[in-house]
């Protein structure tokens, strides 16, 4: 496919004026929302140029989130795999336990600039919901989190965390009660409360300008890696690996490196029980889906022949979204990023390997990235520098992992 798609001089210049990355992206929303989306775009363009906006963000990144996150040489894992030299970008050490804080901080500062009085967000696994509830508490803004009823059942600790932080968690029973339905409900809330509400989307998806804006806020990850790797090794890495649900942590790591041609980039989708098991058994939109339009953008989607959306499956609630950010869809078509997948089983194995060898309990999401690292690293020379984004910590997942391993936590 890469031959047929036009590739611009820089891969970092998108989106175009229509919010498109090639044919992907755009603004596929109801007319009611269009004026808000245009306002948001204007406000964001102004904020980007305002040194005070950046200064406030930098200050809170340092003192509240805990940035920069370390770039850590995973020595024992590297030795164990016997190939590439593996580094973890430790974004799981951020306040709230994942990379989600990077984006929520940016958007909530923008909401304040725009004079918005109420924050809403969708959440799947609850990490974005917790990050949003946290910053809403920090800035004294009322906050409503939409979460699928099925996910609420799967992620009870995060639901309680959000409530502790003062957020209202609204169970979404429409559709199948998962992330996509939570996003539908958040969009419905937004069209009903257009004037006062700011919708904080948690990933690099949605109508323009969200995919670009979330990417920009997350790109702090990749910018830090560039500096940190130069300091540690005197050169840039040879490869990058990150997991992908919607794809915000991956885009944050990848984007600053897209024009460095020698660097190989891998995005790892969730293959669930296996992409070859068919619809409903995986969440690999690029591997098992095709282009369509949902939630404001054109991208690869899991869908039936008749254009109806299919629910994804993954052991990781943060990856089972039936779509993917439009910039990833484009990077897939131009062939810049290699999109691969890892199954539930591979992720579980990687999860345990990381716990035992590195003393780090990873979230199930980056465990998918780690599964690919485990496949790739042994095939590479010892001077190959590989960076994997450890985008979240696994405390939230211990019950899921216990269940998958057949362990009764209460009995131990």
């Amino acid at each position: 496919m890469s031959d047929s798609v036009e590739r611009p001089n820089s891969l970092r210049s998108g989106p175009d004026d229509h919010g498109r990355f090639g044919i992907f992206g755009g603004r596929f929303v109801a007319e009611t929302l269009m004026p808000l989306i245009l306002d948001l775009e204007t406000a964001y363009e102004e904020a980007k140029k305002d040194p005070a906006f950046k200064a406030e963000m930098d200050d809170l990144w340092t003192h509240y989130v805990g940035r920069p996150s370390p770039l850590y040489y995973a020595e024992r894992l590297s030795e164990h795999l016997g190939g590439a030299k593996i580094y973890f970008k430790r974004d799981e050490l951020n306040h709230t336990g994942s990379h989600k804080a990077n984006n929520v901080l940016g958007q909530i500062l923008l909401a304040r600039r725009m004079g918005k009085k109420r924050i809403i967000a969708e959440t799947g696994a609850g990490q974005h919901g917790v990050a949003t509830a946290t910053f809403a508490a920090r800035f004294g803004l009322p906050c409503v989190i939409f979460m699928g009823a099925t996910d609420i059942e799967r992620q009870k600790p995060n639901v309680f965390r959000m409530r502790l932080l003062g957020a209202e968690v609204v169970p979404v029973t429409s559709g199948t009660g998962t992330l996509k339905d939570a996003m539908n409900e958040a969009l419905r809330d937004w069209v009903t409360h257009v004037e006062e509400t700011f919708y904080i989307i948690g990933t690099v998806a949605g109508p323009h300008p969200y995919p670009a804006m979330v990417r920009d806020f997350q790109s702090v990850i990749g910018r830090e890696v560039r500096e940190q790797m130069m300091a540690a090794e005197g050169r840039l890495p040879d490869s990058l690996v990150a997991c992908i649900g919607g794809g915000s942590n991956a885009m944050g790591l990848f984007h600053p490196f897209l024009d460095d041609e020698g660097i190989e980039i891998f995005g790892v989708e969730a293959a669930g029980r296996g992409v070859d098991q068919g619809d409903g058994h995986h969440a690999a939109s690029l591997t098992g889906g095709r282009p369509g339009v949902l939630h404001g953008n054109r991208t690869y989607l899991l869908q039936t022949d008749d254009g109806q959306i299919i629910d994804g499956h993954s052991i990781s609630a943060g990856l089972d979204y039936p779509g993917i950010g439009p910039e990833h869809a484009w990077l897939h078509e131009v062939g810049r990023v290699n999109y691969v997948s890892a199954t539930d089983r591979e992720a579980l194995d990687a999860f345990q390997t990381c716990c035992r060898l590195e003393g780090i309990i990873p979230a199930l999401e980056p465990s998918h990235a780690l599964a690919h690292v485990i496949k790739l690293a042994p095939t590479l020379p010892s001077d190959h520098l590989m960076v994997m984004n450890m985008c979240g910590r696994g405390d939230k997942d211990v019950f899921t992992v216990a269940a998958a391993l057949g362990v009764d936590v209460d009995e131990n």
């Binding site: 109801a30 009611t32 269009m34 969009l187 939630h295 254009g307 109806q308 959306i309």
Partner: protein, 277 residues
């Protein structure tokens, strides 16, 4: 110059009669294909001047619970785009007069293929399209090809559509303009009568097209009130509520369903027709 469409003719006829039109919305395939066809066939006789036929979608982001549920019932019953177009074909065998507007979301159309869809829709006897998630910014996707195929593309305008934006929204709209009488999702709130007249007149002046008002009409008196100020009143959720009230425990149609829906439609039509007498 475009030829006059069935929608243009209908609004001209309504104007000659000196009354507002009554637009009904039902979901294709809800609760099953044949019941849905019986309703469709009966709507003109019950007083519907124009029919909006919903194309079911798994993720109807701008719709409230009633229409969400209707779409899921239809999908569960096996409704597809081909079956929806086939309903229109069958309807047209006996009715050449009542315009049909397909309403829904872009993905099922995009998945079907825009050119293939427009060809099939035209052949079936579809007169217009309302695609909720295609604002003017995305006109090249479907709006312009539809106009090329002489199918009307009807746009939603909202209270949030300001003066700066209105010309762009109206630019490629044809057939009629659909004014969403409040911000929010379908069927969610009661009508605010205060600003409605002003809003409709603003659209009539700027758009030079008939203005239909929807989202919130639940009773014959609501319908009458809207018909006093607009060129047409649209009712969707309230009709679907009637349908849903006549489903059995398994979600299947009961014997009384079709008559109940058509009787209720007739009462609403009465409200519309009494508005300017």
């Amino acid at each position: 110059m475009k030829t006059e469409t069935r929608l243009d003719k209908k609004f001209a006829a309504l104007k000659a009669e000196g009354r507002a039109g009554f637009v009904t919305y039902v979901m294709a395939g809800d609760p099953d294909l044949e019941t849905s066809f019986e309703i469709l066939k009966g709507l003109p006789g019950a007083g519907a001047d124009i029919i909006e036929l919903g194309m079911p979608f798994t993720d109807p982001m701008a719709d409230g619970p009633a229409i969400q549920a209707a779409g899921l019932r239809a999908l569960k019953g096996g409704q597809t785009m081909d079956k929806t177009l086939d309903l229109v074909t069958r309807f047209r065998q006996d009715n050449q007069d009542t315009p049909i507007v397909l309403m829904g979301y872009y993905n099922p159309i995009y998945s079907y293929g825009v050119d293939r869809f427009l060809e099939a829709a035209k052949a079936a006897g579809v007169d217009g399209l309302i695609v909720v998630d295609l604002p003017p910014e995305e006109d090249e996707e479907l709006c312009l090809p539809a106009l090329q195929a002489n199918i009307n593309f009807i746009r939603l305008t909202a209270p949030t559509t300001d003066d700066k934006r209105l010309p762009a929204v109206l630019a490629n709209t044809s057939g009629f303009v659909y004014y969403v009488s409040m911000t929010g999702i379908t069927g969610s709130r009661d009508i605010d009568s205060g600003g409605l007249k002003t809003a409709v007149q603003r659209l009539q002046t700027q758009g030079k097209l008939p203005v239909a008002v929807g989202f919130g009409i639940k009773t014959p008196s609501h319908a009458k009130m809207v018909a006093q100020v607009a060129d047409a009143a649209v009712v969707g959720s309230a009709i679907i509520d009637q349908l849903a009230a006549h489903l059995d425990d398994q979600g299947a149609a009961t014997e009384g369903l079709v008559p109940a829906v058509l009787t209720f439609t007739g009462e609403l039509a009465g409200g519309v027709r009494s508005a300017r007498s």
